[in-house]
Symmetry: C2
Subunit: 116 residues, 2 copies
């Protein structure tokens, strides 16, 4: 399971790429789920899309520096890079997250248990 180390350094994170990553509803939804700071397993993420597509979205987020991925055996765990993002673009992530919640964007992405 190659290529998981492509989390860019703080200084190489750019606004266009971050904005591009967060401009997609599904990816915004993923970030919403991760927004409490806790780690999530790949398989815990639920979205009505093919797994190859989900993998693609996770890759975009990772390469934009929005998330970080840790690998353990054959499965991997995703984390939001809150501090890094906030250091680079103060206030952006919280505002974006709040706006997403207020506007019901990304609600189609949930966790496995789906406590509803």
């Amino acid at each position: 399971m190659p290529d998981h180390s492509s989390s860019p350094a703080l200084s190489t994170i750019t606004l266009p790429s971050v904005l591009g990553a967060l401009s997609d509803p599904t990816r915004l939804g993923i970030v919403r789920v991760l927004s409490d700071g806790n780690e999530r397993g790949w398989g815990e993420l639920r979205a009505p899309i093919a797994k190859s597509t989900l993998s693609h979205h996770l890759k975009v987020l990772r390469e934009a520096g929005v998330t970080q991925t840790r690998q353990e055996g054959t499965r991997c765990f995703v984390t939001l890079r809150r501090e890094s993002l906030d250091a680079r673009f103060p206030g952006l992530l919280p505002a974006l997250l709040a706006a997403a919640v207020a506007d019901h964007v990304g609600e189609h992405v949930t966790e496995r248990d789906a406590a509803k």
Copy 2:
């Protein structure tokens, strides 16, 4: 010069459309120029693109509810809808603007005088 009244109502402004509008460097640059709250004439905006393209960008911003356009005779004037945006998505615009400035995004859009 038809169709200038398409500034959407506050409640119809959606995050995806706003984010989509602001995900383009040129449009972000336009918003940067307008960010002081002052009105600008169409012709005052300078960007290295064809005027039809500029018109297109202005239309996207207007329809997303990011800007407002006033028409006077044969020319029109553009304003940022700061209050509306901030009412709908608190903190989003300032954070986005600050991030754009910090990351030198949209600097290819300037004003006519180009006081440099």
